[in-house]
Symmetry: C2
Subunit: 260 residues, 2 copies
DNA sequence: CAGTGGTCTAGACCACTGC
DNA sequence: CAGTGGTCTAGACCACTGT
């Protein structure tokens, strides 16, 4: 009976803690392909037997791998090598006007092109005072229409987004309606005379909050992108700020930079 | 004697595990400002006394906060609320030619402008076959000059970068020299007739490897950005691929997107 | 039901810090 | 030196999974 553990042993005299040595060996087995995506790791009991250590030592080792995002523990089933989800690439021209022509919002149009089944839920719309982080980017304080929603692909949540539009622009328009109509709110903004001229995006990454873990069904060890996009019209006025949280293991962000 | 723990207790009958409840209460104290940046948390012994639980229960709670990046444990001293490092904003025009005129490489010029003391070390240059990830972006296989280095600000490492330039362009030029001269390798590429026309950047985020933790002196719970930039010359040829790893808590990436 | 991981207890010894 | 966190042992009971 051969096992991924064959020949592996720890050196109790080493400077490196035993649980780290065990984590190292399991990590090497995963990266080296001796344990593939979806494979089950030896159970805690098997590891305790093999290495001759206490359970907490094994659990500390497994915790390292989970924190690194390499494994996923399933209660009552075992610890598994995590499968990498399909990656979604965002092109930097995804908000170009030509992509808005067919009357579809950016997320829907893009996903259907890549063959995934897009879904939007948890849509909420209300009006409030802009938080300072938002009013700073909009360039003025005052009430805003807030549109929040969650996007999923093939049933898996991948991103939450909250848009802030100045109320003097959006109040009593389809933008303040849960369903803003074909082309999404960018199409409505242009119909209202706010031709979109440019966007800026600010990208940060961090570990998720507990609320984000729930909303995006995030696995442990997966960071999130926070992407704050500001849309400017032809007059140079900021007409929307969109605050997006994305599962980092599901996205690659592509950008095009000028050299001149 | 007042303490941040005053009035805090756990409900052993709750569905939520005791160590999570304790972590919740400490997190709330930090976010609510009752514990500020740099403050010491109550010691493990004090928490054991206060909550009347075993040490592992406390340590599990503290581990949650450390994984979230909220605290930092210092052996023999205590557990402290982590200070947020100064943030470095990268503008999307940072490689524009006009910024290259004064004869300084992008990182140096930019840092001095922001008042920090930049430093570059661990410079290594050699020639090898391009890894497939790189040759794919360069558009052809073959030998490449590999330049790797580490950037620091005020003595703190913030970023490692590895550039790959096709050897048929860079061999026996200053680009293959550890010190490529004023303006960096982009200035040299342009002198060699490769006028830089555009750049693409691909941004991902993930938890760091152990090697990255060492190189960038990363705190636990801090993800890294991986930014792969490809530089194209006026003929449309990819002349450099730069693979960068950045501490995510030290960076905000800014991009400008066209609307047309 | 047996086997799995989740939580928790009650100790032990060690290494590091600061006085 | 006392106080701190780092590592480790040897148990216990529980909740969840699959047969």
């Amino acid at each position: 009976m051969s096992s991924v553990l064959d020949g592996l042993a720890v050196d109790p005299a080493s400077d490196r803690a035993v649980f780290r040595q065990i984590a190292d060996q399991l990590r090497t087995a995963i990266r080296g392909g001796r344990l593939s995506e979806g494979d089950r790791l030896p159970s805690e009991a098997a590891l305790i037997d093999h290495y001759g250590v206490a359970r907490m030592t094994i659990r500390n080792a497994l915790q390292i791998l989970e924190t690194e995002g390499l494994t996923r523990a399933e209660h009552g089933r075992g610890v598994y090598v995590r499968r990498k989800p399909p990656v979604r690439r965002l092109a930097s021209d995804r908000f170009a006007r030509r992509h808005r022509k067919e009357g579809k919002a950016a997320f829907i149009a893009e996903s259907e092109q890549s063959g995934a089944r897009p879904d939007v839920d948890m849509i909420r719309v209300n009006e409030m005072e802009a938080p300072s982080e938002i009013s700073g980017r909009l360039g003025h304080a005052g009430p805003v229409i807030v549109r929040s929603r969650r996007y999923s692909l093939d049933g898996t949540p991948v991103e939450t987004a909250t848009s802030y539009i100045p109320a003097d622009i959006a109040r009593d328009t389809p933008i303040a309606d849960p369903n803003p109509g074909p082309g999404g709110i960018y199409a409505r903004l242009e119909e209202l005379g706010h031709t979109l001229e440019r966007f800026t995006e600010e990208v940060t990454a961090r570990m998720p909050t507990e609320a984000e873990v729930r909303l995006l069904a995030l696995m442990p060890g997966v960071p999130v992108f926070r992407l704050i996009r500001t849309a400017y019209d032809a007059q140079g006025r900021a007409v929307e700020v969109c605050d997006t949280i994305m599962s980092a293991d599901a996205y690659v962000l592509n950008y095009e930079l000028p050299a001149h």
